[in-house]
Every structure is written in structure tokens, then in C-alpha cells.
């Protein structure tokens, strides 16, 4: 935060006008992922004195030679004991340009579900590749997840450049390997940066050891990557979350439809169609405590007042008549299975959540599963075990109003819940 202080004054204007970037880091301890995060926090001065003293002490107690920046990202006791990260941990830091939320996830195959979870809300993914080993199985897996979850921006950090003599040849070899493989993926924006997380080269400060690299540092990339178009601003989608009824004399007939804009831009006067009824009406006002709004767009939480009295409740959706989502009960999804106790059962029945809608579904068909290391399709399967990803046909008890996941992450995502344990057991991305 010191960076926002100048001449004894805090730069409020700067702080109040920052954007938020959510990114995910996938990698194992060996890739130097924790060291990289520690480096970002340390070099951006986001670590407090007492935190630093605490990890210095712990490093010393363990007999480690240098301050282990990786300790900053270790959360729970069992993880500290085992020296591994087993869950998704969220970290925060900011620079004068942006505020960042890191979803820090472990990289081993048994934590695929954690990576999927971290990726689900991210604008950007950092994928670490050890320069000595080049593109390996784990790189395929992480890239596939980034592509599957449609993270808009992917940054491949080729790490440990200090251990390959900062060799440009080595770097280009890895870039070439990755490009070859990435042609099979659905990622829009991929960038490559040679770094040394341990020494700090090209993380925050430009490397003096790699004059041949003319691109931006990792931090500069995080600060400047354009995230303004990451939301769908074309297709109007307003899932009704809650009906606000004040029941007071002052607001006697007030009915406000509260929700988070899931796509498009809404304005007062716009004609909207209500689903499931198909009735059209107009947006009269967009309400907020701070005054009426002239427009609303994702990811704003707003309250709409409509011109006509339509019977609307939670789980319904407001859209445009000439640009409606698909409506249906037979849906194809890519499903990541997350339950360690029971596998996905063919013909099994589950509860689901989609936008603000609750329903149930039955699994009609498992078309194939994907080997996440090679991207090969495996046919003739009748279940999905923990961490397995496959294409599945479901039939829902009520129609859903949905878009393809790659068109809209908000209206294209589903979670699957075990009705006996109430646990979230699957993450689904709608294909069609």
C-alpha cells in the first residue's frame, strides 16, 4: 500500500479507480509456484512486517537457508506439516494500477477439482513450466483446464531460467512445444514470459540476464491485460434472484426484481421478455439506494422495476425477445466430477443449480471421458470418478434458460449436488 502514498498523502482517487483482476495459478511445489506468489507479494510490498517475521522464524526453525517465500501461501496446519497445498487459497495484493485476487491451487492430478474451482472465477491463468523440463503432462492438464473453464487470458511463465543459463534457445524451444499443443485447445489469448521466480527476473523487475526478451514483465502483464471485454455485453440476461417487497406505506405497491446482470447492458425503457412466460414488458427503472441508474451491466447487482405487473419469481429470467437463450431440458455438458466418495452414476439423479434456478436432473448418457494429460477421448464409459472430466447428457426436471458456456460463463455453468449428502459433486459447462 505504500505505493499509494506520496508526499505524505494517500492517493484516494487512484485507489477508488482501480480495476479488479482475478487470476489463478496452477502448479506444483516443484514448479516454484509458491515462490512466484511469494515473489509477487514481496516485490509489490504486500507483505506485512509481522508476517515476514513469522515466516523468517519458521524458516529458521526448520533449518532452511533462506527465507522461504513459499510459506506465505501455506494455509492449514495439515498442509504445513505435509509441505503441500491441498485446497484453493485466496490471496490479495494490489499495485497502483490494479487490485488482484489470486486463486492459488495445487497442481497435481488428484487436485484437478481444486484447479477447476479456482479457474471458474478467474480472468487470467498463470501456468508455470520448468524451463529444464519443457512442456510436460502437467502443462497439458493445466492448459486444458484453463481452456475448458474458458479463462480469457493465459500466461505461460517459463520458470527457472536461471537454471538453463537464461538461454533464449531453451525458451523458444518451450514456446514452440506449447504452441504446437495449444492448437488443440480453445484459448483466445496466450502469452509467454521467461522468468526466475527465485531471483525475481521478469516477475516485477525486468531481467538483466535476458536482454534478448523484449516483452513485458509478468507484473506489467497483470496490470495491463485488457479485461473490459471479459464479460458478455451482447446478450441480455437477467436471472431474477430475489423479489424485493418493502410492505411499507411509503412503497406500497413496490415490486423490485433483484439480481446480478449475467450478460448484456440493460437500460430503462428497454423492452424485455420474461422467461418462462414469454410475456414482454419494459424496464421502468433501475433502482439503487444511491439513486436510479441509467444502465446496468455485468457483474452489477441491481434491482429492476418493470412497467407491467408480471408474475415473476426467483429462477425466472429477463432477456430480449429477439435474443433469447436456449430453453430446454435435454442438455449436453462437459462435467468435472468432484466427489471422492461416489462416482457419477449413469441414470443417477442429482440436484442442480443453474443461475438462480434449482432443479433436478437424471444422467442419460456418458458420451466419453477425456484423458486430461493427453486430451484423448475415451469411449464406452459408464461412470466418472473423482477428478475425471467427460461429456454427459442430462435431462432436467424443468426447462433451463441457458447459453453455451463458451458464450457466457454465467448462463452456461451448472453445479451438480448429491441429494443424499448435499455436497457439490460436479461442475458442468454447457456445450449445447
Amino acid at each position: 500500500m505504500e505505493h499509494l502514498v506520496q508526499d505524505g498523502k494517500f492517493d484516494h482517487h487512484g485507489y477508488l479507480n482501480m480495476e479488479l483482476l482475478r487470476f489463478t495459478t496452477a502448479g506444483s511445489v516443484d514448479d516454484g509456484k509458491s515462490t512466484l506468489i511469494g515473489r509477487l507479494l514481496y516485490d509489490s510490498k504486500s507483505i506485512f512486517q509481522d508476517q515476514l517475521e513469522q515466516i523468517e522464524q519458521t524458516s529458521k526453525n526448520r533449518g532452511e537457508e533462506y527465507v522461504n517465500l513459499a510459506l506465505l501461501t501455506d494455509g492449514l496446519r495439515s498442509e504445513r506439516e505435509q509441505g503441500i497445498t491441498i485446497d484453493v487459497a485466496y490471496r490479495y495484493f494490489s499495485t497502483p494500477k490494479r487490485k488482484f485476487i489470486i486463486a492459488d491451487t495445487p497442481g497435481h492430478i488428484q487436485y484437478t477439482r481444486n484447479m477447476v474451482t479456482g479457474a471458474s472465477t478467474a480472468n487470467l491463468a498463470i501456468i508455470l513450466v520448468d524451463a529444464r523440463n519443457g512442456v510436460v503432462e502437467q502443462t497439458y492438464r493445466h492448459s486444458f483446464i484453463a481452456s475448458l473453464l474458458q479463462i480469457p487470458h493465459v500466461v505461460i511463465c517459463i520458470n527457472k531460467m536461471d537454471l538453463v543459463d537464461f538461454s533464449q534457445e531453451k525458451y523458444e524451444e518451450v514456446v514452440e512445444q506449447f504452441r504446437h499443443f495449444a492448437s488443440k485447445l480453445d484459448v483466445q489469448d496466450v502469452r509467454f514470459i521467461p522468468i526466475s521466480a527465485l531471483l525475481g527476473d521478469n516477475v516485477v523487475d525486468r531481467s538483466k540476464n535476458m536482454p534478448w526478451y523484449e516483452g513485458p514483465t509478468l507484473m506489467y502483464t497483470l496490470e495491463t491485460v485488457h479485461i473490459g471485454s471479459d464479460h458478455n455485453l451482447i446478450d441480455c440476461r437477467f436471472p431474477v434472484q430475489y423479489v424485493v417487497r418493502p410492505m411499507s406505506n411509503e412503497y406500497h405497491d413496490y415490486r423490485g426484481y433483484a439480481g446480478r446482470v449475467a450478460g448484456g447492458v440493460l437500460k430503462p425503457g428497454d423492452e424485455v421478455m420474461h422467461l418462462p412466460s414469454g410475456i414482454t414488458t419494459k424496464i421502468a427503472e433501475i433502482k439503487s439506494l444511491d439513486g436510479d441508474l441509467e444502465e446496468a451491466y455485468p457483474p452489477q447487482s441491481v434491482t429492476l422495476i418493470l412497467e407491467d405487473d408480471v408474475d415473476i419469481s426467483r429462477g425466472d429470467m429477463l432477456v430480449r425477445e429477439n435474443n433469447a437463450p436456449k430453453t430446454g431440458q435435454d442438455i449436453d455438458i462437459m462435467l468435472c466430477w468432484m466427489d471422492d466418495k461416489k462416482s457419477l452414476q449413469l441414470n443417477g439423479k442429482y440436484a442442480i443449480k443453474h443461475t438462480t434456478r434449482d432443479a433436478r436432473c437424471v444422467v442419460k448418457e456418458i458420451l466419453y471421458k477425456v484423458d486430461v494429460n493427453t486430451l484423448h477421448r475415451i469411449q464406452d464409459v459408464d461412470s466418472l470418478a473423482l477428478n475425471e472430466i467427460g461429456r454427459v447428457k442430462i435431462r432436467t426436471t424443468v426447462p433451463l434458460f441457458y447459453d453455451e458456456y463458451r458464450r457466457n460463463r454465467n448462463t452456461g455453468s451448472i453445479i451438480i449436488i448429491d441429494e443424499a449428502t448435499n455436497t457439490t459433486v460436479g461442475a458442468g459447462m454447457i456445450i449445447e
Binding site: 500500500m1 505504500e2 502514498v5 505524505g8 494517500f10 484516494h12 477508488l16 480495476e19 479488479l20 506485512f48 512486517q49 509481522d50 519458521t58 501455506d74 494455509g75 492449514l76 496446519r77 485446497d87 485466496y90 490471496r91 490479495y92 494490489s94 487490485k99 485476487i101 481444486n114 471458474s120 464479460h231 434472484q241 430475489y242 424485493v244 417487497r245 418493502p246 410492505m247 411499507s248 411509503e250 412503497y251 423490485g256 433483484a258 446480478r260 447492458v265 433502482k287 439503487s288 439506494l289 444511491d290 451491466y297 457483474p299 452489477q300 447487482s301 434491482t303 426467483r314 468432484m338 440436484a351 443453474h354 460463463r409 454465467n410 455453468s413 453445479i415 448435499n422 455436497t423 457439490t424
Partner: protein, 301 residues
């Protein structure tokens, strides 16, 4: 035309969304109100989420009986200002009933006893979701907490068995007797909270602003003196200092810092230049490296 939100507006939108999910998914939610700045911000967010309707759940205060008088005064003002309902769970009552036992010894506090009273209050009011103002940046164990955090019938948190939380689809399904803790401002940092207070012009208890106070130095923190709760020990002397509090916990265990910051702007400047985390002054977190994790497993906030 650029359709992007500032990070504070995006965090606000996220918190409002979470609160509306709670109101929609649960039968009897409540907002845990400590009197601290985080829970104050929560109340202001709740007002925005449901305006022009009143906040559709009660504020619940777990009263240790060791609060700063300024906290109580502010609490009562805020409840009136919002037209909200207040429910108080009293640690004193739990002690009198014998369900909680007062700690003894030099560093005795009522902090741990709050858990007993909190769980009793949840049970007697049949709350099925309690919203708290905890943030993930506060403490290591909280970095992995979910927005919707499932608790078993004993109110326990099982960090190894947390539900995956994807996109903004929150799973609040539960069995009878279980409940949820929900943390709408999970993604806010201390600085975000202060900036939001500044941006929204939210009034705070006077404790947060620099003032003269009689304190004693104990374990590196300045503790407010009190005729009953904080008595001088041998070799301790009280002195009057210009201080403020960064958090508002119980009087006997919340350390003040020396400060001249008597406005929100000055506080923000101070927060921006400080090099110690805000919980660094709380004696309850210093008991062991995992003290927060241990308390959370038992059902703490």
C-alpha cells in the same frame, strides 16, 4: 463507452449478490454483528441489497459483557438508524447457566466463551445461516474459507471436507440441525473496507479515531485500563496516551496503537504505511500459530 466497474463496486456487487442468495436460500438467516468496522460495513451493504425494504434478517450481537461502552452505544444507534431487529446473546447468561466456564489465570479472556454463546443463540433462534464479516486476508486459516461455509450439527467446521465453490453458484443445501456461516465480504482487504467507509461516508464508533486514553503496555500491546476487567499487575504502570483501535474486540484483549489519525482519511494513510497486520495486536491470535484454525474448527466466527 467502457463497461467496467471499479474494484470496490465489483466487490460491493459480489457482497450484495451473496446476501441476496442468503435471503433467498435460507429460512431464518441472521447477520452477526460485533460492532467492528467489518460488520458495520456488512450492515450498510445489507441495506443496499434490499432497499427500499428493510434488512430482512436480524442483527445478532454476541455480548461478552466486556465490550467497550463506545461499541454498545454505536450498536444501539445503528439498529435504530437501520430500523433493524437486534438479538443479543449474552456470554454472562451462558456462564450463569453453567454452559460456559469463565477462564482463570493471568491471561483469562471471554473470547473463547463466545463460541458457546454463539452456538446457543443459533440453536435457540433456529438460525440456519449466520453471516459474518470475516475476510480471507485477515488470517491464514481464513484464506481457504468458502463464502457459504457448511457447519455440522455441532457447529463445527471441517477444513478438509469443504464443498467446492464454483462460479457464483452457492450451494446452501443442508440437513436439519445443520447451519451455514456465510462471509459476504470474503474478498475484501482491510484497505478495501476503509476505502469503502470513506467512499460511502459510513459513520464509525469513536474508538477507531485517535483519542486520549489511559493504557498499560502488556505483551507489546497497549491495553485500555478498566476498574474491573483490566487491573494493574506488579511492575505495570498506567499512562495516558493518544491512541486508536484498529479492531474492536473485547476491551481487555484489544490492543490500541499510538496514533494521531482522527479522520478516516488519516486512518487510511496510516493503514497504507503500516507494516503490521491488524490482528497483530490481538492477544487471542498470538496464543499459537494455529490458534485461529483451532477456534474455527470448534465453531468460532
Amino acid at each position: 463507452m467502457s463497461y467496467s466497474l471499479t474494484h470496490l463496486r465489483e466487490l460491493e456487487a459480489e457482497s450484495i449478490y451473496v446476501m441476496r442468495e442468503v435471503a433467498a436460500q435460507f429460512q431464518k438467516p441472521a447477520l452477526l454483528f460485533s460492532g467492528g468496522k467489518d460488520s458495520i460495513v456488512m450492515v450498510y451493504l445489507a441495506r443496499k441489497a434490499f432497499w427500499p425494504a428493510k434488512i430482512p434478517f436480524p442483527l445478532v450481537h454476541i455480548d461478552t459483557g466486556h465490550n467497550f461502552p463506545e461499541t454498545m452505544e454505536y450498536r444501539d444507534w445503528l439498529v435504530k438508524e437501520m430500523g433493524a431487529t437486534l438479538i443479543v446473546g449474552s456470554v454472562e447468561d451462558s456462564i450463569n447457566r453453567g454452559t460456559a466456564v469463565e477462564e482463570r489465570g493471568l491471561n483469562a479472556s471471554r473470547n473463547a466463551l463466545q463460541t458457546v454463546t454463539l452456538l446457543e443463540t443459533i440453536e435457540s433462534n433456529k438460525f440456519d445461516a449466520c453471516m459474518g464479516g470475516a475476510r480471507r486476508d485477515e488470517e491464514k486459516a481464513r484464506a481457504k474459507e468458502r463464502f457459504f461455509s457448511h457447519r455440522d450439527e455441532f457447529g463445527q467446521w471441517d477444513p478438509k471436507n469443504q464443498r467446492p465453490e464454483l462460479w457464483n453458484l452457492f450451494n446452501g443445501r443442508k440437513h436439519i440441525g445443520e447451519h451455514f456461516r456465510v462471509f459476504p465480504i470474503s474478498n475484501w482487504t482491510e484497505m478495501d473496507v476503509w476505502q469503502y467507509i470513506y467512499q460511502e461516508n459510513i459513520p464509525l464508533p469513536r474508538l477507531y479515531f485517535a483519542h486520549d486514553r489511559e493504557v498499560i503496555e502488556r505483551d507489546g500491546a497497549f491495553i485500555s485500563t478498566h476498574p474491573e476487567w483490566v487491573k494493574l499487575r506488579p511492575n505495570e504502570t498506567a499512562k495516558t496516551m493518544h491512541v486508536r483501535f484498529r479492531t474492536c474486540g473485547d476491551l481487555p484483549i484489544t490492543g490500541a496503537i499510538e496514533s494521531d489519525a482522527d479522520t478516516v482519511e488519516k486512518i487510511i494513510y496510516e493503514v497504507a504505511t503500516t507494516r503490521v497486520t491488524e490482528r497483530g495486536n490481538r492477544a487471542d491470535d498470538k496464543r499459537s500459530e494455529t490458534s485461529m484454525e483451532d477456534r474455527k474448527k470448534a465453531g468460532y466466527f
